[in-house]
Symmetry: C2
Subunit: 412 residues, 2 copies
């Protein structure tokens, strides 16, 4: 078989896996107990590999806060010293079947959601959603942040565990419904968070602290973010490691670098500098204040949502200064660099055409079109939190490098 | 002032009232107690006036079921005799500040929602939502129908009353949010029903039977129908009775006739035959089985939603056999016969253009374009229930008659 045919065959296979995969919320538990391979001295972070000393301020701060939360350090200062000591191993979430929004810091003592792609039997994990404002994932580490994390671990996590063990939740079905309701599932989760909440309400509210948890979720419009991410990862992971496939299975950023992975080049990172997102800044802030793009949340675009589904959510594009036509254009561009269209995620205003699914690194190299990532923007300095929302792109170098490596491995 | 100027001034005024009105769910209570002017021997029905003997089968059956439910008759047969006896007065819901979906039968013993347009201090009323399947509003009168109505009166109504008295709910805000989420609010209420449920959850779930009520609502995707209708009526009623205004304040059907009212001709019905809706019939049914269009739910189109907002909800148009372009066209046509655009109901895919608001009977007469009404389709025979969903139109005669009357009154 010619190499072109091999690639087409492999991409068809990887695409079909991505298109038919599903994602069911089956459990919650402590990261140290439920994530295979997780060790007591591991600290997981968003994006491709990065050492503690090279992390951006917000991510460093999140590491410090997490060590205090985990009871390993008494103060932020002590946590910083410990993080530098070499006693901890820093690993990308992605390398342990995990994803985390923004800093993505996940320690063994944190509660995580457990999602299963029941079609392909693989599982993924993600920490719980804190909300907006002063939150660990943006590098805030004050008392209220740590206290909230403890409540999430002690009350919310166990309650959700009891709920979903009784009644697992089909996350892909909720995501698909959400796309019909104006969510693109990277910035906007209004519908999906409500759909999720209503799905678990019965089993949650039977519990003593159910109402407390119900209220916490009801007040957080992006609650579904931390569930949709492991859902998309569960689907993308199943399509990883298909020999000859040029489809992208990971897009992620650590604030310094943007990393991608390609199905046929399993486990290899291709990176370039993380952009400072362009977008709308909250009053009093500008692009000068912004950190480089970070977070594993670009897994949403990897799975055909977020920026890829812009046409389904003009409200998001409008928020960052564009109009409905711009939103349409972003999705139209995405069709030019993807293998196919999603069976399950359909855009009403495009007559229910499936969203652009499965970025083909060959097409990115060929057209020069980069996927648009809808993203939150964090302040450069730790603890200030979100200062805007906008759009970022992966670096073309990462795609060029992936192509070179592909040529080397497969003799393209 | 010339008549043209008088009309323009009046329409501007009526339009502004309709555009700036709001709708807050403030209470629930028994129709006989809370609806001003409601008497013990009144039976309210949907649409323009119609005598019992002339009602369609489904509406007659709903009257019978309501008399049994109210404890006035022991059997359906006895109820039928009583209804024919002349002891009861049949009145359009609309004439008592009330609306009712489909048959719209409202008796003094039924719980109703109380909605206030707090900007103009008027109140409106609507019975509670039963769900789909065998339900009174489609003329079903079996034991489970009557039992459900009793539960709604004994458990749900009082629970909702306690909730909203503690925390009134801004229905217009929910409707506006829903339009951003793919609801057009005549057929599709997915988002708005969820938004409503989440809004009242806290105050509802504090109550002993709160969870029972929560579940009932969560299982009914169109629950918000019976709340959005009095909301739209509260807004439209405030704009009624503006001298010289040619804007339509009521669109409603009783299965035999379609009736309209015009702001400047307060209280006068203009009618013509009710269409059999065109649309998609459930398996095994066709247009031959369908009843004439009925229900006060065209109040949604009166207020700039439903068919007027088709472009916001391509899923609805698709369901009745059209595509996204057809949905867009329906809304485009509606702009040609309305006075202006809604400030609060915005269509994302049209760059957040306001929905077409306030049908001008002059423009309908001039263009011949009739508003499209999104509607459920009932079987001709009582008790079979919904057999499809589709689109209907008011009769042009009603608009012609209104114009003639307007000319007579104002010397046009």
């Amino acid at each position: 078989m010619e190499i072109g045919e091999e690639i087409e065959k492999a991409n068809r296979k990887a695409f079909d896996i991505m298109n038919t995969g599903n994602a069911v919320l089956v459990d919650f538990g402590l990261a140290g107990k439920v994530i295979p391979g997780m060790k007591e001295n591991y600290i997981l972070h968003a994006g491709p590999p990065v050492e503690y000393r090279n992390m951006i301020e917000s991510m460093k701060a999140a590491v410090q806060g997490a060590l205090v939360f985990d009871g390993k350090a008494d103060t932020i200062e002590q946590a910083d010293r410990m993080a530098r000591s070499g006693d901890f191993v820093f690993k990308p979430c992605h390398e342990l079947s995990t994803v985390g929004p923004m800093a993505g810091i996940t320690t063994p003592g944190m509660y995580v959601a457990v999602v299963e792609n029941t079609a392909y039997r693989n599982r993924t994990y993600c920490n719980l959603h804190e909300g907006r404002g002063a939150i660990l994932r943006f590098g805030a580490t004050g008392k209220e942040v740590i206290d909230r994390l403890h409540w999430m671990n002690d009350v919310m996590g166990p309650a959700l565990k009891e709920s979903v063990r009784k009644k697992p939740i089909d996350l892909k079905a909720i995501a698909a419904e959400g796309v019909q309701m104006g969510d693109e599932l990277h910035q906007r989760f209004k519908a999906t968070s409500l759909l999720f909440l209503t799905s678990i309400a019965s089993s949650l509210l039977e519990q003593e602290k159910g109402m407390e948890v119900y209220r916490f979720i009801a007040e957080r419009e992006q609650f579904f973010l931390n569930l949709s991410m492991p859902a998309m990862k569960a689907i993308a992971d199943a399509a990883d490691g298909v020999k000859y496939s040029t489809l992208v299975t990971r897009l992620t950023r650590n604030g310094v670098n943007f990393g991608i992975q390609v199905s046929g080049l399993k486990g290899k990172w291709f990176t370039g500098p993380a952009e400072v997102p362009k977008g709308l800044y909250f009053m009093g802030f500008s692009q000068n204040d912004a950190a480089g793009d970070f977070g594993d949340s670009a897994i949403m675009e990897t799975g055909g949502l977020g920026g890829m589904a812009s046409a389904a959510a003009p409200a998001v594009t409008r928020f960052v200064g564009g109009n409905a036509k711009d939103a349409m254009r972003v999705t139209e561009d995405a069709y030019r660099i993807t293998y196919g269209q999603s069976r399950d995620f359909q855009i009403p205003s495009l007559d229910f055409r499936g969203t652009p699914l499965a970025i083909d690194m060959l097409k990115v190299n060929e057209t020069g079109i980069l996927p648009s990532i809808n993203t939150g923007i964090a302040h450069r300095k730790a603890g200030i939190g979100q200062i805007g929302a906008g759009i970022s792109h992966p670096p073309i170098e990462a795609f060029n490098d992936a192509l070179r490596e592909f040529a080397k491995v497969y003799g393209l």
